[in-house]
């Protein structure tokens, strides 16, 4: 098997690594440095990292709810893109299937919405 098929992938890896290093480096040099309290806190999703509440405590899950809803719609988009590209070939069958798929996602969304999953407080 020829390894040349992997060259674009390696190039992509190199590009990604270079971009990450470049962004971090450049922001160190040109970025403004205005510290405030929030920036110094440890990154934790919805949890106050310190002081630790007694017995582990309860923490709000609204961040998780939002993130999970985002993932559902994210996945939906991932399916919509290839379907949109091959729409002509898939025809009516593909259209009906996609309507069914969107309907099921919408049912979950309706449940979350009606039961207060989208309210922040």
């Amino acid at each position: 098997m020829s390894l040349s098929a992997y060259v674009p992938i390696i190039a992509l890896f190199a590009l990604a690594a270079a971009f990450a290093l470049f962004s971090v480096g450049v922001s160190q040099i040109v970025g403004p440095k205005r510290y405030n309290r929030a920036k110094l806190e440890a990154y934790e999703c919805g949890i106050e990292p310190s002081p630790q509440p007694v017995g582990g405590g309860r923490f709000p899950i609204k961040f998780y709810l939002t993130a999970m809803l985002f993932i559902i719609f994210d996945i939906e988009i991932i399916f919509l893109y290839p379907w949109a590209v091959t729409f002509d070939a898939l025809g009516l069958f593909g259209f009906v299937e996609m309507i069914l798929f969107i309907t099921t996602v919408f049912i979950a969304y309706a449940y979350v919405w009606r039961r207060g999953g989208l309210e922040w407080d």
Partner: protein
Amino acid sequence: MNDLKLPAIDYAALAPMLILFGVACLGVLVEAAVPRARRGLVQVPLGLLGLVAALVFVIAEAGTRKRTAGEAIAIDGPALFLQGAIIVLGVVALLLIAERSLEPGGPFVAQPARPVGSEADRSQAAGEGGATEAYPLVMFALAGMLLFVAANDLLTMFVALEVFSLPLYLLCALARRRRLLSQEAALKYFLLGAYASAFFLFGIALIYGYAGAITFSRIHQAVTAGTGSGVLLFAGLALLAIGLLFKAAAAPFHVWTPDVYQGAPTPITSLMAACTKTAAFGALLRVLYVGFPGATWDFRPIIGVIAILTMLVGAVLAVTQTDMKRLLAYSSIANAGYLLVGVLAMTPEGVSSTLFYLVAYGFTVIAAFAVVTLVRDADGEATHLSRWAGLGRRSPLFAGVFTFLLLAFAGIPLTSGFTSKFAVFGAAFGGGQVWLVVAGVVTSMLLAFPYLRVVVMMWLSEPGESTPSVSVPGAFTSAALVIGVLVTLLLGVLPGPLLDLTTRAGDFVR
């Protein structure tokens, strides 16, 4: 662009699954739109209607032998029989789930997210209506099981496995009483189940590496041709088997069973013991009989040892249990061993006897858990064995019914336990597996001891201060109990019709 080939889909054959998925989605909409107090009133008829409609379509398809949806689904005798069995057992379990007269608010907690022991939790224990999300979750689980037993390739089977597992994990956590135990059960089941799924998935990858395909017919061709690496085949088959035997609760993959059966709400436990077991063994049958019969001589000794180990572990540890639900859990493990004996016959009789056993055991176990829901005191169900002492004097009717069910588990003649054990042992004997039959008979005698101990305790002890009363069952529990007991008796006295049906249904399509 227009050369796309769409697979032919036989919608009538898929109808039972589509109906149950549709009903589950409708149930979610009901949860979203209907006011809280009336949700239960809508969900129960909706679920029952959906199950009946699905059963009608299963019966209408009787005799069909075909593969559809691009060979992803096989509709044949065993698939239709197992789907019918899962639906009927699901109806009986749903009756237990719908019962609300035993406990104000039903067997489920109102707000599962409330912290245990908080002020809000104490107020909801007093009778706030239970979470009706349980009904759509049960429907999703049953729909996944129907797909699981009809899956004709490994990926469809994996998707179905996840579809029916995830709702079950959630349902385990919803018990109204002893909520910490229930949440612990759900977490254990989820973590170990995710682990088993990973094994299953890795097995699929290795089998694909071996056969270059995931449909069972192509795998069968590759196995009989004998080309390719044996390491991939055997490692893949072993990992697949671990995933399936975990769901079937076979030793040494059984450790979750007692904890989960004990912690889960009792109606859900009955659903798992009857329907999940049926689905798991249905899938195991298809994998071994359709995909890998060419490797029978390689896997039979190993799964045979697992079967013996399962029977031994179930029988020996059942003796030491002090909790009724754990006792029934170990009994369910031992029964998984007997089912494996039938599966390993690797003959048509092996298939039909396993199908018969699944139905017979399912009805008996649901009825047994129905009795467990009735024996209660102020703190909910009194499941400790010592509390059952003297129950025969306090309530002869229910102690009598439970004695009958225990005798069925022990395999006494005139119960379905006898005919089903006779069928699987006979099939294994016919398949030349005398060692499994000997082990099965020996462990059956061992397993009779814990059952008889409970019987003796119930009838020969004096009822004490702590002996709980037996609640009068509501209409739903009564119906489930009557159905379970009648079927247990009927299959013991008159097993002919169902045996004929299983014999006719025992032919897989490849």
